[in-house]
Structure formats: structure tokens, C-alpha cells
Amino acid sequence: MSALRTTKLGRLQGTFFIAVAVGLLALPLVADNYILYVMARLFVYVLVALGLNLLTGYAGQVSLGHAAFFAIGAYTAAVLAESGQWSFVPCVLAAAVVSAGVGYLLGLPCLRLSGLYLAMATLGFTLIVQEMLLQLAVITHGSEGMSVRPASILGLTFDSDHRKYYLLLVVTVGMLLFARNLVRGRTGRAFLAIRENERAAEAMGVNLAQYKTIAFAVSALYTGLAGALSAFLVGFLDPQEFSFFLSIQFITIIILGGLASLLGSVLGAGFLIILPEMLAGLDVWQALVYGAIMVLTIIFMPFGLSGAIRRYGHRWFGLGVEPIVPRRLGH
């Protein structure tokens, strides 16, 4: 990629990222608490979108089970904080590890499934986990929900919107860089090979079972981490939140943002979190307008926001190369 830095696109990208970084660091100086809270929620969704995109966008394995991983992360952190009196960092780490473990285990029976069958099996997983949250009321308090104390690291309590914003910003940027390294390395290439053609990938020495379960585990790790952070951010867990609608929302984010694109994960999360906030004044019409915008976005940008940026960046400004986007995925 270093060669790109000297090109027009490379310089533009560099300038863009510096501008975004400065903007994000300086935002709390100008924005009110409400905006900071929305931004912090946005970071949570970026984390989920990154994780889901690794599994679905890169490795080609459709998942409607991510609301379950999100719930597992959130509840693991909340339960350890409440019953175990664990502090913030071990709670979040444990949540990520537990979620990744469950992701690995779910990945095993899913090895033989693909496409719609995989989507349905993982959707079933979401529904099962949500019901378990209600049934295991001894641990999860069932339909009453759970409240979560604010996070604190070495005596510094993350109770204000400013602090929560910076905490989530740091974690999200860190995980974004990790995902970037992952997809550019051996693992990322293996994921893409599996998505494009499983038999060919196998012939080139990619261990299908190993990499598919790794994809599930890493994806669940991101999502569980996001769930745990979300628990501390919101301060309350309601089992109704972790329905299959949430899974659908996650998959919508990465498709509207752009499959197999880290930028797309960020843009998609931004689009789907900020849009409802902007439409909040529409009252009963909100969901209708939201759905209509979703349909129109797909009609005009079938490859998502990042696909559109790449395509029109090339056509109108001669940036980069004409994107080649896979037509049919996981099918």
C-alpha cells in the first residue's frame, strides 16, 4: 500500500483520515452531551459492523446470529460486574472471550451450512439466546432487565458522556486497525479465498474448517466486545433489545455500508444510527421514511456506500481503479 501513498488517491486518503481524526478528537469541545452519546452508540455499532463484515463480507458466511453474540457480550459483562464484582477491564475482556468461544462453538455445526440455510440456523440461534435470557432469570433477571454500573479504570470513572465517548473512540480505532491488519494479511486472504470458491481455496492449502471457525470466533469477539461496551454505555440491559430485528439491523448496516469494506462498516453504522436521530421529529412517519430511504439507497447504490464512493470516485475524479465487486455472495 505504500506505493499508493504517492498517488493522488493516497494523498487524498491521508488528508481525509487526518481531518477525520482531528474532527473526532475535537468533537467533545463543540458538541453537546446528546451528540456525544449518539456518537458513542455509533462506535458500538461500528465494532459490530467490523466483526460481521469480517465473517459475512470477507469470509462469505451470512450470519443473522449477531444479536445473540451482542447479548452474550453484554450479559457476560453485566453479570460479572454485578455478581462477581469484577472491574471494568476484566469484565469486557471476559465478555469478548466468552462471546468468541460461543462463536467458535456455533461455527462448528455451521461448517456444513451456507447461504440461506446458514442465515436461518444463525437466526434460530438469535431467537434461542433471547429466550434463554428470559428463562434464566436467576442470573439475568429475566424480563426485568439488568442495570450496569458505570465503567471505571484505575479509579477513573467513565460516567460522563465525554469520557464514555473517548473510551469508545479509543477502543473502536484500535479494533479498526486490528481488522485492517487482519484482512490485509494471511487470514484475510484466506477469508476472501473461501468466499470466492471453497474448493479452490482448499486446493491452495486453506484449511476450510479452521478458517471458517476462526472467522466466526473473531466476528463474535468483536460483537461481544461491542455488547459489553454497550452495556456500560447505556447502563441498562433489556432482553427485548436483543431480538432478531437487531440481527437484521446489523446485516443491513454492512450491506448498506458495503460488504468486504472496513470503510463501509463505518459508513453503514453511521448511516443507520444517525438517520433515525435525524428523523426523530417525524413521529409516526419515522419508520416509514426510514424504510423508504433504505430502499432508495439500495436502488441507487446496490454495492453500498463504500461501493458508490469507489465507483463514482473513479468515474468522476479518476481516483483509484474501477472497483470489481463480487456479484453473488454466499450462494
Binding site: 451456507s114 436461518m120 431467537l127 471453497e198 432478531f244 460488504l259 412517519w285 419508520a287 455472495l329 454466499g330
Partner: protein, 291 residues
């Protein structure tokens, strides 16, 4: 004891028949156009409201309402295909799925704006009084729903088998290129497929709404029907029918043996177990991978 059990099986079969009808809608569209229509459940919900409006607000007779609902649902299917799906026929399959999810959001919230979110009673001609035949115990409603569903399935079967249009649709499902070379208008077939799927969903709505409930979230029944289609093997018409019925019966039986929460989940546990053993469902052909 045996009577309670048989009545559970029969009423499960009735719900299962409705799942099967909706599942048929999924599979017909998928076979013809390769699209998975996540607004299929919304066809059921909207047609429920159409018949409610005609029956309760305008007081039209039941059979007129039934006919009008089927026709209007068909038009809704064509409308959705023309407005939302056709412009992006070349897009990745995921994008089309998301577009139909967007459309279902629009339909659901429109229903909410017009009718509110309270549960409305949809009148039916079938009585809910129990009928007994030996150890069999069921209601006229169960029998009516099962009979109507089977009649619709038979009608569809005859349509596909005997009419020229039906043959054109089967040809399109097999190979779009070959069908086009034989002079079949693919775009017409696509619209017709969506119309039939939506109309079948419309019948499902008229049948199921009096049994469960009528509110803007009725479309969620589409998820169960989808599960039924997957259980049977997505893309297989007998699979959709058997899968839908099986799901309805299992769901009712587990509701009888366990609590309501487990009832919702047990079917999905079973579904995952079936998929682990048969990754393409009960009737699905094992996919052949070309390198």
C-alpha cells in the same frame, strides 16, 4: 388425553398449512427470480388489513371480500416487484434482500399509521366450536383452514401442470435463457410470479388472522414460514409444504408439553439439529459445487 393431543395436532396442522402457504410464496419467487423476498410476511399482514377494511368498515359479504383481497394482494405483489426489485435485478442478492426488508418496514409502519398498533379481530365464517369424530377432536375453523389451504395448493399444482402460462413459469425456473429463447417473456413471468406469491400470501392472511391476531406485526409470521421452507429444503415446493406443516404441528405440540417460551424456541432448536444432519433441508438437493 388422546383427544387433547389430537386436537393439538389438528390445530397445529391448521397453522402449519398457513405456514406452508406463505413458505410456498417464498419458494415460488426464489425459484423463478433467485430473490428471497423478506416482505413475504408483510403480504400476509397487509391482506389481513385489506379484508378487515372491506369486511368491517364497508360491510361487504365474505366471499366478495375474499376475492377482492386475493386480487388486491396480487397487485401489491406486482407493485413491489416493479418498484423495488426490478430496478436492482442485477445487484448482489444481499442488496435485493435488504431492499425487500426496507419495503417491509414501509408496509408495516404504513399499517401502523392507518390502523394503529392494537390487536383487531378479523371476522371469519368458520366456527370455533369443537367437533368430535372418535378420538379426533377439532374445530370447524381448523378443518376450514386445512381444507382451504389444500384447495389452494391443488389449484396451484394444476395451474403449473396444465396451463401454458404455468409451463412457461416452470421453464423460467429451470433456465431463464432457454425460456426466453422459446419466446417466454421473462419480465411478464416475474411479475406474474410475484402476483401469485402475494395472492397466496393474501389467502394465508385471511385464514390466519382470525386464529392468531391482526396487527401490524402479523408479518413476523413470515419468519416461521421461512423456517418451514428451510426445514423442507429451500427451493423445493413439496419441501415448503411439508416443512411448513411439520413446523406448525411441532410448535403446537411443544406448546402442549412445555411452556410458551420454550414453544417458540423448540422449533428452532429442532431446525438447527435437522440442518446439522441435512444441510440442505429435508427435500433440498445437495448443492453441487463447481470449481
Amino acid at each position: 388425553m388422546a383427544e387433547i393431543l389430537t386436537s393439538q395436532v389438528v390445530s397445529g396442522l391448521a397453522t402449519g398449512c398457513v405456514y406452508a402457504l406463505i413458505a410456498l410464496g417464498f419458494v415460488l419467487i426464489f425459484k423463478a427470480t433467485d430473490v428471497v423476498n423478506f416482505a413475504q410476511g408483510e403480504f400476509v399482514m397487509v391482506s389481513g388489513f385489506i379484508s378487515y377494511t372491506l369486511l368491517v368498515w364497508y360491510g361487504l359479504p365474505y366471499w366478495v371480500v375474499l376475492f377482492a383481497t386475493i386480487v388486491l394482494s396480487g397487485f401489491m405483489g406486482v407493485g413491489l416487484e416493479r418498484l423495488v426489485v426490478r430496478p436492482i435485478m442485477d445487484a448482489p442478492i444481499f442488496s435485493i434482500v435488504i431492499a425487500t426488508i426496507g419495503a417491509s418496514t414501509v408496509l408495516r409502519s404504513s399499517a401502523g399509521i392507518i390502523y394503529g398498533y392494537d390487536v383487531l379481530p378479523l371476522p371469519t365464517i368458520f366456527s370455533k366450536d369443537p367437533i368430535r369424530l372418535g378420538i379426533l377432536s377439532f374445530t370447524a375453523m381448523d378443518a376450514g383452514v386445512i381444507g382451504s389451504s389444500l384447495a389452494i395448493m391443488l389449484a396451484l399444482y394444476l395451474f403449473f401442470k396444465l396451463t401454458k402460462t404455468g409451463m412457461a413459469m416452470r421453464a423460467t425456473a429451470q433456465s431463464q435463457t432457454a425460456a426466453r429463447l422459446m419466446g417466454v417473456s421473462i419480465t411478464r413471468i416475474f411479475s406474474l410470479t410475484w402476483a401469485i406469491s402475494a395472492a397466496v400470501g393474501g389467502v394465508a392472511g385471511v385464514l390466519i388472522a382470525p386464529i392468531i391476531y391482526l396487527d401490524p406485526n402479523l408479518g413476523l409470521i413470515g419468519v416461521k414460514a421461512f423456517a418451514g421452507a428451510i426445514l423442507g429444503g429451500f427451493g423445493s415446493i413439496p419441501g415448503a409444504i411439508v416443512g411448513g406443516m411439520l413446523l406448525g404441528v411441532l410448535e403446537n405440540l411443544s406448546g402442549y408439553f412445555f411452556n410458551a417460551g420454550i414453544k417458540q424456541v423448540s422449533t428452532y432448536i429442532l431446525l438447527i439439529l435437522v440442518l446439522v444432519v441435512r444441510p440442505s433441508g429435508l427435500f433440498g438437493a445437495a448443492s453441487v459445487r463447481k470449481v
